[in-house]
């Protein structure tokens, strides 16, 4: 099973909940993989302290022009939609940072002057933390293409066990890459105007992707009841409300998981998972 933990707004508690859920389920004897797909700012390792057993560099293909074979016809520059190739009368220049790796230039080159080399986008770490399997991506600083790295993290999920995917914030392409093909999405929000606004954006995204989801309200007592009223009106399941708790916040600041700081939460996360996985009609709105 693949379960994604996402949110529109950042800092609502995705990592706290993803890590806690992974630890709570592993404590029940389940086979759990935690996959950090927030590759720009991955934080799961801070709470899990994993032993990393394998580190794999991830590259994307970018063109390389063999100038001796090049006739400077300019077909490569013409097909490129991303401004990554400039064709000049006596040379062809590649701006590999702008390349989206579509391979079009190589396909159109009439003389076979274009080959592909790898550009490093980051790396994937694979390991384990106590009884949780750990996979994470780390984007190379300065790199813009996070989706190929997120895709590679997801290639290392466990086909049989439970996979908990920690997604990046927002609603654009990296989030879509992280949540697509999952079985269920947990949307984490907080009951503030910013949290509510971004929750609605995230729901809009999941409606288009046609993915089933439920909402977790974190720091449930800090703002107002707009999120709850909205969920009730739209028939969206609020799976869990976690009150604002200084113990959890302090533990978080020191890199300690919420279920370790407040063991009474363990049962709530186990129950949350049961609710998600109970047999039901396919839950699309």
């Amino acid at each position: 099973m693949k379960l994604a933990v996402a949110s529109g707004k950042g800092g609502t508690g995705k990592t706290t909940i993803a890590v806690s859920l992974a630890l709570a389920l592993a404590g029940q004897g389940k086979v759990v993989t935690y996959a950090d797909c927030d590759v720009e700012e991955p934080n799961g390792h801070i709470f899990l302290n994993p032993q990393v057993e394998q580190k794999k560099v991830v590259t994307v293909p970018v063109p390389q022009v063999e100038q001796e074979l090049c006739t400077f016809c300019g077909e490569c520059a013409e097909i490129c939609q991303f401004g990554a190739i400039a064709s000049l009368p006596e040379t062809t220049l590649v701006y590999s940072d702008l390349c989206h790796s579509c391979g079009g230039c190589k396909l159109v080159c009439p003389t076979g002057a274009i080959t592909e080399i790898g550009r490093e986008v980051g790396y994937v770490e694979i390991g384990s933390a106590k009884n949780v399997r750990y996979v994470a991506g780390r984007l190379r600083i300065g790199e813009v293409q996070s989706p190929p790295l997120i895709c590679e993290v997801k290639n290392h999920l466990d086909r049989q066990g439970i996979n908990i995917i920690d997604a990046p914030p927002g609603t654009s392409c990296p989030v879509i890459e992280a949540v697509k093909d999952t079985d269920y999405v947990l949307l984490i929000t907080e009951p503030t105007p910013f949290g509510f606004n971004d929750l609605k954006l995230a729901i809009g995204m999941l409606d288009i992707l046609q993915l089933p989801f439920g909402v977790v309200i974190n720091r449930a007592d800090i703002g107002n009841d707009e999120v709850k009223r909205y969920c009730a009106m739209e028939n969206i399941e609020v799976l869990l409300e976690i009150p604002d708790d200084r113990r959890i916040a302090e533990a978080y600041s020191r890199g300690i998981a919420a279920v370790t700081a407040s063991p009474e939460l363990t049962g709530k996360f186990v129950q949350l998972f049961k609710t998600i996985t109970r047999p039901r009609e396919k839950q699309l709105r």
């Binding site: 950042g10 934080n43 996070s146 954006l201």
Partner: protein, 296 residues
């Protein structure tokens, strides 16, 4: 005209709350919300939209199913798994091909190689951009469509429009609310800025993410300063962050204590400095003065 960009690495550290207060404290600024896929600044500044423009980030492919012969060349050349065998039947074949618009990268390779000219490759609207008036000055903001490509391009467009607006209105400062992370939209929002303010929090995650974002701005050679929000949640990590900032040559320009009035202000659609006085307002004022000094 100077440009200040507020980012954070980690999400939820208080970027937008601080930008809203800066908006209220500034006398002659233009505001820009570059967190285009989860924009929130408008919830506080309540902009009145004066002008709208469509944002076209790039092209997308679309198969005209009546013309598709089902040869599969498009599927063969697409590297983004965007070509599906799900199209409706036509008079030639029982099954045609279809493009998944969310997976389509907009490279146009399929359209180029389609021998039957059955693939249209056209510009699509990826979002909207707004020029508005607020009680704190003009504001440029945007909305990226779900799964909209090219959030970086939209960020660049928001900044360009905001800069033009500042120039034509004789405004001397542009304040940009950025997005979390270190990827495409962040790189697009900080490129060429005069100063980056990183808002962090004293947690191990906040510190880890600060390190990565400061490496990014360092690598891009953009002057960077840091502010520690909610510093009293963990004074020990605050001290570590101060040390880290010092070692990275990044000035620490402010420390703001944890205060429930920040949420209260947001609920009232107000910036913190408009909502309340007291220590929190003084801390934000001091931060603002230091930032203005760094910009000069």
């Amino acid at each position: 005209m100077k440009e200040l960009v507020v980012i954070s690495g980690k999400g939820g550290t208080g970027k937008t709350s601080i930008v809203a207060s800066f908006a209220a404290l500034s006398k002659n600024a233009v505001l820009a919300d570059c967190d285009v896929d989860a924009a929130d600044l408008h919830l506080v500044l309540e902009p009145k939209i004066r002008q709208e423009e469509e944002f076209k980030g790039g092209k997308k492919a679309k198969i005209i199913s009546a013309a598709c012969t089902g040869c599969g060349k498009c599927e063969e050349v697409c590297r983004f798994n965007a070509v599906l065998r799900d199209g409706p039947p036509n008079y030639l074949v029982p099954e045609t091909f279809l493009i998944d618009p969310l997976a389509c990268e907009g490279c146009g390779v399929c359209a180029h190689f389609c021998e039957d000219k059955a693939i249209k490759f056209r510009e699509v609207v990826d979002g909207e951009l707004f020029i508005s008036d607020t009680r704190c000055g003009p504001m440029v903001h945007a909305r990226l469509n779900v799964g909209g490509e090219n959030s970086g391009k939209l960020v660049t467009r928001v900044r360009t429009v905001a800069r033009e607006l500042a120039e034509s209105n004789g405004r001397d400062l542009l304040i940009v609310d950025g997005s979390p992370g270190i990827g495409c939209p962040v790189i697009a929002s900080v490129t060429g800025a005069d100063l980056v303010l990183v808002v962090t929090e004293p947690t191990r995650s906040g510190m880890h993410d600060l390190e990565r974002v400061v490496k990014l701005t360092g690598f891009m050679k953009i002057p960077t300063v840091v502010c520690i929000n909610k510093w009293d949640i963990n004074p020990e990590i605050t001290a570590q962050i101060e040390k880290l900032a010092d070692q990275s040559g990044v000035h620490q320009v402010g420390k703001i204590g944890y205060d429930k009035r920040v949420t209260a202000a947001q609920l009232m659609k107000s910036s913190v400095v408009e909502y309340t006085g007291g220590s929190i307002a003084q801390e934000i004022n001091a931060l603002w003065r230091n930032v203005v000094y760094e910009l000069a």
